[in-house]
């Protein structure tokens, strides 16, 4: 989230699209109801299903799953055509005026540079014209035919209300009503917020869905302001934290990234990470990359990370592919190329697509280790549960360890919420049996392996032997010790660069925040964006002052938010070119003539003059990007793409299937179904009564929603002679499940490109462990393909067939 949950109270219009906030985040959704009650805010819901969020919406419109880009570009077109643009913001704070290289183009659903063979774009034409001064060329008058604004206008021109209706199935009148409501928010004193979640991410073009809305929010002037923003409603309690801390194949901490094989030494690695400003006087904060990186390497390997060895650069593994993401790992597993797998609080048998492939992969492992407070289907993937897990136990040679962990109530530490607040919590109960903390388990695995390497030697033991592990009790690092390491400290006295006699931070003391980090080895810091969380002032994440000056929803002294306790990202953009708030009633910060002051930590140098230093300080341009250059694999603008399994062809280019650059493994390609075989458009989702596969272990939630079901329209029920509450079989090219049928008016057939599209809704909370009735998950059916940029699987749009059936395990 660019903003926080409590900030949503400041909005005038909430658009819930690509999510179902009331159902998935009820207590965060509270702030929508507050905005409605106190500001007269309106709520729009766009979803294939009339959801619980829709039940309290002011306006609802249906949409076919996977067609959101067309809808969003249609909204952008409407705003441009009707002059509903926050012009001052758009001209000054976006790259609308930047001139794009000659050679860039878009035709037949594809951008310039497409190579069908490689399923990839040559992205060299997707860039700015660079002038002789080394800066990007701009035309502030927006007259240049190749300035971003004119390219955008042309790009969206095809997405007329009629085209939106044709692709999305959203009736034109409903689309126009929403467009009108959205367009009103181009006023500097009206703000819209976007609340989205997996409904946008879980597509082969998920990142571009989000781009579409981000661009709309930019031209409406809604980024950086109170009650505005792009608010990704993260799923799990610390999924934000684990991402921030870089627990991903392609990441290091704080969005530093893993080196690749093409970067065999530190100099090469740093060369592409200089981030020189593309416009004069801009901040381009990533210029500090080396300070964060070297401090990170010192946190990892301490004294073994020295200038002479490139700060132990060799210790970092180098990637030969963009990432060893979960889809790639399970593909490799199926090829017998993975021997061991550790699952810490993770249940891939229900969480990853094409369950048949997942179980086949696990069955080829030599060993599997699970760490969890609860039983999981993954730990028991080898156990035969009849129709619910029909495996040949004896043939599975995997050695499986199931390790019991403590749960939240017995643990201590911080969790990062969706609004980037790091909130410390304390243990209140004794764990059952021999359950142990995850920190202890990880320490034990590490210490035992280190000991083996000490005794026996082995493959490249250096990083293992030298890993910094200086804890009071190495067997179980304490949460406070780890938090202090994340924050970082001075390794030698840090002196003032202007006055070397003045010590800013004494050796051994915690740094105040990341502005004190250096790239000469004098500081260490586990995760630069978290620096400030536990400094000499103490554990800021444990702060519990809930005061809220001027009732802005900021709560600046409640726990701690990254970065630098900043609650609203890009908040400099809440004020105009002179530093005056666009909307005085929604002030966050303002320029007082010498510095920025206000309710929040300014997202700009406090003395950076308005009109000179632009608000988007992380970008080399200093402004936000309507055109993303070559930073995304599938286009500098979003463009309509169908899901890989779609009920209709891509109207822009019928030959295109799915995202033209999404990675496909050969065996999965053969497992895509067509609309002839599988005529119905399915989608998967969560219900408010359950949390993933966890709460089925809880008797209360199991009672509230006891059994697996699918939802279909009355029309589809009639077509297939399905009885409400009866059993149905739903199958795709990859698998088959049996479920109870909920027949509802909340799902209606859509007309897309002249064809009737029936939607099948499949919630995901059941398995073969726990208190609820045994059932299946939609991942038995979903395709094994991910987003072209980030490999998030396409769970939200796929094809199935459906028929009445008998109960699971009963032959009809």
């Amino acid at each position: 989230m660019t903003n926080s949950w409590t900030d949503i109270r400041n909005t005038d219009l909430v658009v819930v699209m690509g999510g179902n906030a009331a159902e998935a985040h009820p207590c965060g959704f509270k702030w929508v109801t507050e905005a409605k009650a106190h500001r007269g805010a309106k709520l729009i819901v766009v979803d294939p299903r009339f959801t619980r969020t829709a039940s309290v919406a002011d306006f609802y419109a249906p949409i076919r799953q996977g067609s959101d880009i067309a809808f969003l570009l249609g909204l952008i077109r409407y705003c441009i055509e009707n002059d509903k643009v926050q012009w001052e913001y758009t001209k000054a704070f976006t790259n609308a005026s930047f001139i794009v290289k000659e050679g860039f183009g878009y035709a037949d659903g594809l951008f310039s540079g497409y190579d069908e063979e490689k399923r990839d774009y040559d992205r060299t034409s997707w860039d700015y014209e660079i002038g002789e001064d080394g800066y990007a060329r701009v035309d502030p008058t927006l007259q240049h035919p190749r300035c971003v604004w004119n390219l955008l206008r042309q790009h969206v021109s095809v997405y007329t209300p009629e085209m939106v209706e044709r692709i999305c199935g959203t009736p034109k009148a409903k689309f126009l009503k929403i467009a009108e409501m959205v367009a009103e928010c181009s006023s500097p004193t009206r703000t819209m917020t976007s609340m989205y979640a997996l409904g946008w991410t879980q597509h082969s073009h998920g990142a571009q869905n989000i781009r579409g809305m981000a661009m709309l929010q930019l031209i409406l002037g809604n980024i950086g302001v109170r009650g505005g923003g792009m608010n990704a409603l993260r799923g799990h309690s610390n999924i934000q934290g684990l991402t921030d801390l870089g627990l991903m194949s392609h990441l290091l901490t704080g969005y530093l990234n893993m080196p690749t094989e093409k970067e065999p030494d530190l100099a090469t690695y740093m060369a592409s990470r200089q981030f020189k400003p593309l416009r004069p006087g801009q901040t381009s904060y990533w210029q500090n990359y080396s300070k964060f990186f070297v401090s990170f390497m010192k946190a990892m390997w301490g004294d073994a990370a020295r200038a002479e060895n490139g700060w132990a650069y060799d210790y970092l593994p180098k990637l030969d592919v963009p990432s060893y993401d979960v889809l790639r790992m399970f593909e490799l597993m199926n090829h017998g190329k993975v021997n061991g797998y550790l699952c810490q609080g993770f249940n891939p048998v229900l969480a990853f697509p094409n369950r048949g492939k997942v179980v086949a992969g696990l069955s080829k492992l030599k060993f599997l280790v699970t760490m969890d407070p609860l039983e999981t289907e993954t730990a028991r993937f080898w156990e035969n549960h009849g129709a619910f897990n029909d495996v040949n136990t004896a043939s599975i040679q995997t050695e499986v360890f199931q390790l019991p962990t403590r749960c939240f109530a017995e643990d201590q530490g911080s969790l990062t919420n969706s609004g980037r607040w790091l909130q410390w919590f304390w243990p209140g109960g004794t764990a059952p049996g021999e359950a142990r903390p995850d920190t202890w388990i990880m320490a034990q695995i590490f210490l035992r392996m280190r000991e083996l390497y000490r005794k026996e030697g082995g493959a490249f033991p250096d990083p293992i032997l030298n890993l910094s592990w200086e804890y009071h009790d190495p067997n179980e690092p304490e949460p406070e010790e780890l938090a202090k390491e994340i924050n970082g400290r001075a390794l030698t006295d840090l002196t003032d660069p202007n006055d070397p006699s003045k010590v800013i931070v004494a050796a051994g003391k915690q740094v105040l925040n990341f502005t004190q980090l250096r790239d000469d080895g004098s500081t260490m810091c586990g995760c630069w964006i978290y620096s400030g969380c536990f400094n000499e002032a103490g554990n800021n994440m444990a702060r519990r002052d809930n005061s809220d000056p001027d009732q802005t929803g900021t709560h600046p002294n409640w726990t701690w938010a990254w970065p630098l306790n900043r609650r609203t990202l890009y908040n400099r953009a809440s004020a105009d070119l002179n530093g005056k708030p666009w909307d005085p009633s929604r002030k966050i910060i303002e320029w007082d003539g010498t510095r920025w002051t206000g309710y929040d930590v300014p997202d700009i140098g406090v003395t950076a003059k308005p009109g000179e230093v632009m608000p988007f300080i992380m970008n080399q341009e200093g402004v936000s990007r309507l055109f993303t250059r070559g930073m995304m694999r599938d286009g500098p603008f979003p463009a309509h793409m169908e899901p890989f399994e779609s009920p209709i062809a891509n109207v822009m280019n019928p030959r295109m299937r799915g995202n033209p650059v999404a990675r496909l493994f050969e065996s999965d390609l053969a497992q895509f179904g067509t609309s002839e075989e599988f005529p119905f458009a399915a989608t998967s989702y969560r219900l408010t009564e359950h949390f993933h596969y966890w709460t089925k272990h809880n008797r209360v939630n199991a009672a509230l929603q006891p059994e697996f079901f699918v939802e279909i329209s009355e029309e589809l029920a009639a077509l297939r002679q399905i009885t409400p509450g009866g059993w149905v079989r739903v199958w795709s090219k990859r698998g088959s499940v049996k479920a109870k049928a909920v027949v509802t008016k909340r799902i209606r057939p859509l007309i897309c490109d002249g064809k009737t599209v029936h939607v099948v809704g499949i919630p995901l909370h059941w398995g073969f462990t726990g208190s609820a009735k045994k059932g299946f998950g939609p991942n038995s059916l979903t395709p094994f393909v991910g987003d072209a940029n980030i490999e998030t699987p396409e769970y939200k749009a796929f094809l199935v067939n459906i028929e009445p059936s008998s109960a699971p395990g009963v032959t009809s």
């Binding site: 509270k30 039940s55 209360v700 009672a703 509230l704 409400p724 008016k745 609820a772």
Partner: protein, 325 residues
Amino acid sequence: MSDSPRTAVSNPPTQPMASNFGERDLVRRSATEDLPPPERQLTPVAKLIDVSKCIGCKACQSACVEWNDTTPAIGENTGVYENPHDLTENMFTLMRFTEWVNPETDNLEWLIRKDGCMHCADPGCLKACPAPGAIVQYTNGIVDFIHENCIGCGYCIKGCPFNIPRISKADHRSYKCTLCSDRVAVGQGPACAKACPTQAIVFGTKEDMKQHAAGRIADLKSRGFANAGLYDPPGVGGTHVMYVLHHADKPQIYANLPENPRISPLVQSWKGVTKYVGLAAMGMMAVGSIVHGVFARPNRVSREDEENAEKLVEGKPVPPPGEHA
């Protein structure tokens, strides 16, 4: 910015606290004619359920189960969202879902109503109850079941115009929402109201709740719900659980919320019978320690009792539970 009323003004106390109301605040006690008048009048309380803000999440059901330590059974899906499928002795409140197409707009409206005891000012359950002290009403409006006095006869169900109480198959006693009398007694709102994510359920003095409802109704009218209104039915003397409805002119579309609930005239005239059964029950209580398990048997209203009662109402048909207008 003004703030919404909300139930949880503070966390519950953990230091032992005496209850703020009790025996001396009783205004009614079932099958008891000589109840002394209450010493004082407590400020009437109410729970307000704003159906238009409800997202149907069932947090109220969860919180109710956890607070009241009940154990609803894990059932099955029958093609609907309601689970359990009805109120039970282990589920005192239930979200009822109705898919309603508004004939005026042709828009689907998903009407979700939290069902449960309405805490009637004129409580039919209490009036029908033949067991002395099994049902009590306090001057703050809370109608509570005192289970150790319950004989499991089921009269309360017949007396209830909303079809709320349920008899336990395990201990043959009647159960329903207590309005979390134990929480209210230490200054806390009911568990459901505290949990409610959107504060569609709020709790406070009845006057405050009516005022809050007025604001909500004005908001709904501004959003096109011309018939938005408060449900506080006079036929039962008003209730201490009230609804804000977007279509207050049609309460029955909300899973058959009665348009004009009244205590059945049959129950009103049960008085004589009640006294008779009540005395019988007291007699049983006296020997209860000898005849072990007497309260573990269902003490259903006998056919005879019913016939006696029917004679008293001059041939008016007895409405079966669940079919009250």
